[in-house]
């Protein structure tokens, strides 16, 4: 249904999913032997110790693990916010390390959508204006951005809340606005950092249902960092990280549509 709503909107023609056109392989994300360490004072703290990861297009993968295991660092590398010390990172068939900083910003802006734990909506902007921010940053005209924003807010069930300020929205509604914002530029890859951590038992699964339907119906790839085991059934795979390495993969469903049925594979 969401797919129909989004695809029916003519603005999507203005914002082509560049990744679809340019991606000859089935992998949305490929990470090989990635190392990352933080240096503070004279101390070096390794965070990622040779992570390998491959995520197929349309797959929904969860990254789980204890605090300090490297989940957020890995997500930041996938989002082109951090660069690894060593290793190889390919996002939508583009070698991230070969891109200059502005190139990484463009890749992030045009093909990656972010969903944050605390929503990170901009105060002073309405729900609709918040959704339009990535479009404005991309140079889309205000009118086209608003058309696209309305479609997205309708798709996440917030047609009645377009003019509401973030402080007047519930946590669940805020996260749905954030999800709509993440989809504004029609990205191929959605990265979510603890998207349900600030939501209650009812809203958490609701947001995940939305995210899951998007990956299923729109063919988007999603990588979700989470501690919330209640939402694991929405994943195709759950990767367990410990001490900067993927130590275990839990295959919950065949890649693509969400399903149930776990199959653990030791890494």
């Amino acid at each position: 249904m969401i797919a129909n709503q989004l695809s029916a909107n003519s603005d999507l023609q203005v914002l082509p999913a560049v990744g679809h056109l340019a991606r000859p392989t089935q992998w949305a994300v490929r990470v090989e032997a990635v190392h990352k360490a933080y240096r503070r004072g004279g101390t070096t703290t390794p965070v990622l110790n040779g992570v390998d990861l491959a995520v197929a297009a349309g797959e929904c993968v969860f990254l789980a693990g204890p605090s300090g295991s490297g989940k957020t660092t890995l997500l930041s590398i996938l989002g082109c916010i951090l660069t690894p010390d060593r290793g190889r990172v390919q996002i939508l068939d583009r070698d991230v390390l070969a891109l200059d900083p502005p190139g990484r910003v463009c890749l992030r802006r045009d093909q990656i959508g972010f969903v944050f734990q605390r929503f990170n909506l901009i105060r002073g902007l309405t729900a609709l204006e918040n959704v339009c921010v990535p479009l404005v940053l991309r140079g889309v005209s205000a009118r086209a951005a608003h058309r696209r924003g309305r479609v997205l807010l309708e798709a996440v069930g917030l047609a009645e809340k377009m003019g509401a300020q973030p402080q007047n929205l519930s946590a669940g509604e805020c996260q749905r606005v954030a999800l709509a914002r993440a989809l504004a530029n029609n990205p191929e890859l959605i990265l979510a950092d603890e998207p349900t951590a600030s939501l209650d038992a009812a809203n958490g699964p609701e947001v995940m249902k939305l995210l899951r339907r998007l990956t299923t119906e729109e063919g988007k790839t999603a990588i979700v960092v989470t501690h919330d085991q209640r939402i694991f059934p929405f994943a195709d795979r759950v990767l367990w990280l410990e001490n900067g390495r993927v130590v275990e993969t839990e295959q919950l469903a065949s890649p693509s549509p969400a399903g149930v049925g776990a199959q653990r594979v030791e890494a």
């Binding site: 957020t72 916010i81 910003v105 972010f114 605390r118 990170n120 901009i122 002073g124 902007l125 204006e129």
Partner: protein, 374 residues
């Protein structure tokens, strides 16, 4: 982008108000201080600016309208013979005392105009008529000097330089730089009040023939009478203003107050923008995380600073107009030319933009990673 900048700015109304107060303060201070300064300076050359003479001819060392040196009256014929000169008349300016009804004395500047042409006589005469100085002992004084001269009335007899003087008219707004009252009368009577030899005068006031160029005629006068100097009236007015500027330190004191105003505005705008940014570091981090470039981030700050400068300047200029309307008098003239208002607005805009670069330096250090480390 404008929408993001504007909406986030007005969302913090308290801070926006603080910044606007800073800008308004700067604009008001710059314009009122500058206006008072220009008003004072304008008075230094008031006789030259407002009189009907186009050229002032005087002693080789002429440097201030109110402080002339004597020149022979008979040389006026040599000036009259210069091509382009339509009329040249002697003019006398000097200081003497007038007695007050209370028994005191007040220093006055006596101005004597040629009785035929009345060139250089009082203007803006609001009581009586300018030519009334031709009446026996007739003098015209300014209505703003009434208090200082202990409220003379029309027709009242006073004593100037120990001789009779009858008040035959009042002008409006002819105030000297030194706030010494001007007393306008005829050349001969002025010479008597000032106890001057009638064969000397202070200046020759020159009117030009149609089409004559003031600068060219001045050069011709200097050539014809090398003992004298000649300036177009606006030049001599500027020379008189410079006299006070360079010898009184007036420019420094007004300039310092104006700079303080600008500095306060700068600090308030910079502090407000910085506080806004500190409050919104995570949001700027979010913008970076979702793909805002450094240039786009600066553009947001640039637009916010521009908004503050423009709105603050407009409010400030409205206030300045009100202050000028209600408080500007010939005694404390607030003269605000268009270039001062526009210049202050432009200056404040530049200051706001510089102020916006301080928080930008802070934002540059914001790592988008912060939004993933919450």
């Amino acid at each position: 982008m404008w929408s993001i900048a504007f909406q986030t700015l007005i969302a913090d109304r308290g801070k926006l108000l603080t910044a606007l107060v800073g800008v308004v303060f700067s604009i008001v201070l710059v314009n009122v201080q500058g206006g008072l300064f220009l008003g004072f300076i304008k008075k230094a050359g008031l006789l030259a600016d407002c009189g009907e003479a186009q050229i002032w001819v005087g002693h080789k060392k002429m440097y201030n309208v109110d402080f002339p040196q004597d020149i022979p009256r008979r040389w006026v014929h040599r000036v009259r013979s210069v091509p382009g000169v339509k009329r040249a008349e002697p003019y006398l300016i000097g200081q003497t005392n007038t007695t007050l009804p209370s028994g005191g004395f007040e220093l006055v500047v006596v101005v004597g105009a040629d009785r035929e042409s009345l060139l250089g006589n009082a203007w803006n005469v609001v009581q009586g008529r300018p030519e009334a100085i031709l009446k026996p002992n007739g003098v015209i004084i300014d209505e703003y000097d009434r208090e200082k001269l202990e409220y003379p009335e029309m027709g009242e007899i006073r004593e100037v330089g120990g001789l009779r003087a009858r008040v035959v008219g009042f002008s409006h707004g002819i105030k000297s730089f030194l706030v010494t009252p001007y007393v306008f009368t005829t050349y001969e009577r002025a010479a008597a009040y000032l106890r001057k030899n009638p064969n000397v005068c202070s200046y020759y006031l020159v009117q030009l023939q149609p089409g004559a160029e003031a600068e060219e005629v001045c050069a011709a006068i200097r050539q014809r009478v090398p003992e004298l100097d000649a300036f177009p009236r606006h030049v001599y007015s500027r020379i008189s203003a410079n006299y006070w500027l360079t010898r009184s330190g007036l420019g420094i004191s007004f300039g310092a107050a104006t700079l303080i105003g600008l500095f306060v505005g700068f600090v308030m705008v910079a502090q407000t923008l910085y506080a806004l940014v500190l409050d919104r570091l995570t949001e700027f981090g979010t913008l970076k995380a979702i793909g805002a470039t450094e240039r786009q981030i600066y553009r947001i700050l640039f637009l916010q600073a521009t908004f503050m400068a423009v709105v603050g300047s407009l409010i400030g200029l409205v206030l300045v107009a009100a202050i000028q309307h209600f408080y500007s008098t010939p005694v404390a003239l607030i003269f605000i030319p268009g270039w001062l208002s526009l210049g202050s607005g432009a200056l404040v805009l530049v200051i706001c933009l510089i102020a916006s670069s301080l928080p930008y330096l802070r934002i540059r250090k914001v790592d988008p990673l912060i939004v993933l480390q919450s």
